[in-house]
């Protein structure tokens, strides 16, 4: 059909071209890079997944919860003297500074999530608003936060803050794995395990699962639903703050007022891929999405293809298995 319309010759490569040799050549580095990015998606995805599990709401403004954390990281580290070049501080003081930045980012993101819940969503819950109203509020809030940042910090990306020089650590299949990748993946996995255990083992965690499965009955058991909801937002915010630190570690000059948005869509896709409402699913979905997106990027030859690939995966999962790989419910995540 398209060919019939053509008057000038047009090569298929003008539309999409596949660079298979490049993929084969870079397979392992793409995998390790993908895992690193995937760990960050996973951390953000937990925020979507927990709120979705408890409120059945896609919290569109979660991407802004993340980006506020990223700004906090950049501002704290700049204030501590970090800049575009590799810092010359002793290792111990770098670690201390990074921990400080991490804590402040977690606080900033958690505070954003808290305010968002109280100001935007709670009034709607109080009057039993229809779902559409929640979603429109969510997107409106996302927008309002984004452009408040724009007003304060301007349109340009923040100057780069380099945390440390990534050191080669292992050589796997001829590909170097560096210290950044190891730190990010291990830290993310530890945080996810802690979150998972928090939800499975603690009393508050049981409360979260109860509200997710049956809010009214949970109330009848003495669960303070409002408190559980706010805790859920805060936990999501804390993990988004951690994701923000790792993101800046990986992409030192990547903090821009609208930078959360695409990461947010990808993290949500990761949550759906793993099974929304499921913390382990968020990690699994994040890692998978990171890897597949990276393969797509190398195969198709432009870094922006990762976004397209993530989106196509989201649509395919919804088409084939909307419950994701590990199933959906917060409660069932135990089995």
């Amino acid at each position: 059909m398209l060919d019939l319309l053509l008057v000038h010759p047009v090569s298929a490569n003008d539309w999409i071209s596949f660079d298979i040799p490049s993929l084969i050549q870079n397979f392992w580095s793409a995998t390790f890079d993908g895992l690193t990015f995937g760990a960050i998606y996973g951390l953000i995805a937990v925020g979507y997944t927990l709120v979705y599990g408890v409120l059945n709401l896609i919290n569109f403004a979660h991407s802004e919860v993340f980006i506020v954390g990223a700004y906090a990281v950049v501002l704290v580290l700049s204030a501590l003297g970090f800049g575009p070049s590799v810092p010359t501080l002793p290792l111990s003081s770098i670690i201390l500074d990074l921990v400080l930045a991490l804590i402040i980012a977690m606080l900033a993101s958690a505070a954003t999530a808290f305010v968002l819940e109280r100001v935007a969503y709670r009034p709607l819950r109080k009057r039993n608003a229809p779902r559409l109203v929640f979603l429109i509020t969510a997107i409106g809030a996302s927008f309002a936060i984004q452009y408040t940042i724009f007003l304060v910090r301007g349109a340009n990306a923040e100057p780069a803050v380099t945390m440390f020089q990534a050191q080669p650590v292992f050589d796997v299949f001829g590909t170097i794995i560096n210290s950044q990748q190891i730190i990010i993946v291990i830290a993310a996995v530890i945080l996810m395990i802690l979150t998972d255990q928090f939800i499975r083992r603690t009393r508050v965690g049981r409360g979260i699962r109860a509200v997710a499965q049956d809010p009214d009955t949970a109330t009848l058991m003495g669960v303070n639903k409002e408190r559980i909801i706010i805790i859920t937002f805060i936990v999501g915010g804390i993990l988004a703050g951690a994701a923000a630190l790792f993101y800046v570690m990986l992409v030192p000059s990547g903090v821009q007022y609208n930078g959360g948005f695409v990461l947010g869509v990808k993290a949500f896709a990761a949550a759906v891929l793993g099974g929304i409402g499921n913390v382990r699913g968020a990690l699994l979905g994040g890692l998978l999405l990171g890897i597949i997106g990276n393969y797509g990027q190398i195969l198709l030859g432009d870094s922006q293809w990762t976004d397209v690939v993530a989106f196509v995966i989201l649509v395919l999962v919804l088409l084939v298995k909307p419950t994701g790989i590990l199933g959906t419910s917060l409660g069932r995540s135990r089995a």
Binding site: L132, L135, G140, F143, Q304, W305
Partner: protein, 397 residues
């Protein structure tokens, strides 16, 4: 504008009326212009027609009149501003079918606009390798292409909960922009020059539909808006429209009552998409140039803000919302940079303070929501459930 004449109903009287009208639902405040709407509904039919004709005539004269207080000069050309307002109005009317009637949240409407623009560009611009067709033909082609995209996107997502549609459309909006950038054939920022225009030559030999002359483009768009409004109005009153409202009010109930909700949702989504494509093709023609720059997510949210501000579910409200969202940044250039912040906050505030926008969905239509189940399924071969008493009251009002 003419609707603003006549005595205003006292606020107290309005409140009282509302408590009577609203049945067994949580109380909601009415739209800002509710007194006007009541006044309008009370007018006899011929008078309504008379007013409508006056409004339409004024609307056509708008770019020529250039009223001093209203004008966007010297910052922005008034005729082009009129075209811009008309474009937003058309888009809002289209998006209103999706969001307002069927209650589906489409956060990537700009993508359909983009697909329409690129369709027009690829089929008319000399930069395109494709065969060329006359510009006016690209309008139906763009509608068909965007409708196809709407179906492709809607089928996997509309079977699921409404939230998924929101995120998928949000993603789609971004993906279309990215694809325009990274697919070489779509020429990224270089874009397509000299997109076609409707035929016709002015007295001085220049094309009638010149890119710099907003007036003929405005007239064309206004005419299309009137046609679309008539078509949408017919749909709204048909079985399809009632099914949409049933879905919006309570999808589960509609499904149980035998409304094929999935099919009607896909229809709403695809019809909305095709109107987006239509306005995209018009936009491409007027500007004469299409590249990857205009189609960002922010614009989608502005479109949504237009519908919500005007009153989701009310086509005249959506139209008005579109005009306002386009007009404010053009008229008050000092705040143009803050428009996203302003409309973002406006979205949240409108939702929290439960206003239904300027012109709310008509009470009559809300009443339809309850009777719609009966009407929709009262086709031969299906069993009609007993009519609950509230539904009868609703139908009678």
């Amino acid at each position: 504008m003419s609707m603003s004449e006549g005595p205003k109903v006292l606020p107290g009287a309005e409140t009282e009326k509302e408590t009577i009208d609203v049945e067994a639902r949580p109380k909601r405040s009415s739209g800002l212009f509710q007194p006007l709407v009541d006044k309008w509904n009370a007018l006899p039919r011929p008078i309504q027609w008379l007013w409508l004709i006056i409004v339409v005539v004024i609307a056509y004269l708008l770019p020529i009149l250039d009223i001093p207080i209203l004008t966007t000069q010297p910052g922005n050309d008034w005729a082009l501003a009129c075209f811009s307002m008309a474009s937003y109005a058309l888009i809002a009317v289209g998006l209103n079918v999706v969001v307002g009637y069927a209650g589906l949240l489409d956060l990537g409407y700009v993508a359909f606009f983009a697909v329409g623009s690129y369709t027009a560009a690829l089929l008319t611009s000399p930069d395109s390798p494709f065969a060329h067709i006359p510009y006016l033909w690209t309008i139906p082609v763009a509608m068909a292409v965007t409708m196809f995209f709407g179906v492709v996107l809607g089928v996997p997502t509309l079977r699921l909960r409404g939230d998924y549609l929101a995120i998928v459309t949000l993603g789609f909006g971004e993906i279309v922009r990215i694809l325009a950038t990274i697919i070489p054939a779509l020429k990224g920022q270089v874009g397509f020059q000299n997109v076609g225009r409707p035929p016709g030559t002015a007295a001085d030999g220049t094309p009638l539909f010149a890119n710099s002359n907003g007036t003929p483009w405005y007239w064309l768009t206004l005419t299309i808006i009137i046609i679309v409004l008539l078509l949408v109005g017919n749909l709204e009153r048909s079985r399809v429209g009632r099914a949409w409202i049933a879905i919006r009010e309570d999808e589960d109930a509609a499904e149980i009552m035998g409304v094929p909700t999935f099919r009607y949702k896909v229809w709403a989504f695809a019809i909305g998409a095709s109107v987006g494509g239509l306005s995209g093709a018009l936009f491409a023609g007027q500007v004469g140039f299409v590249n990857n720059q205009k189609f960002d997510v922010q614009t989608s949210i502005l479109f949504l803000a237009a519908v919500v501000l005007g009153g989701a579910g009310n086509k005249v409200g959506a139209l008005l919302g579109g005009v306002i969202v386009a007009y404010i940044p053009l008229r008050f250039t000092a705040i143009a940079n803050y428009k996203y912040l302003i409309f973002g906050i406006a979205l949240v505030l409108i939702m929290i303070f439960r206003s239904k926008g300027l012109l709310p969905a008509r009470q009559r239509l809300l009443a339809y929501g309850r009777t719609a189940y009966q009407r929709v399924i009262s086709k031969p071969g299906t069993v009609t459930p007993p009519t609950p008493p509230e539904a009868e009251k609703g139908a009678a009002s």
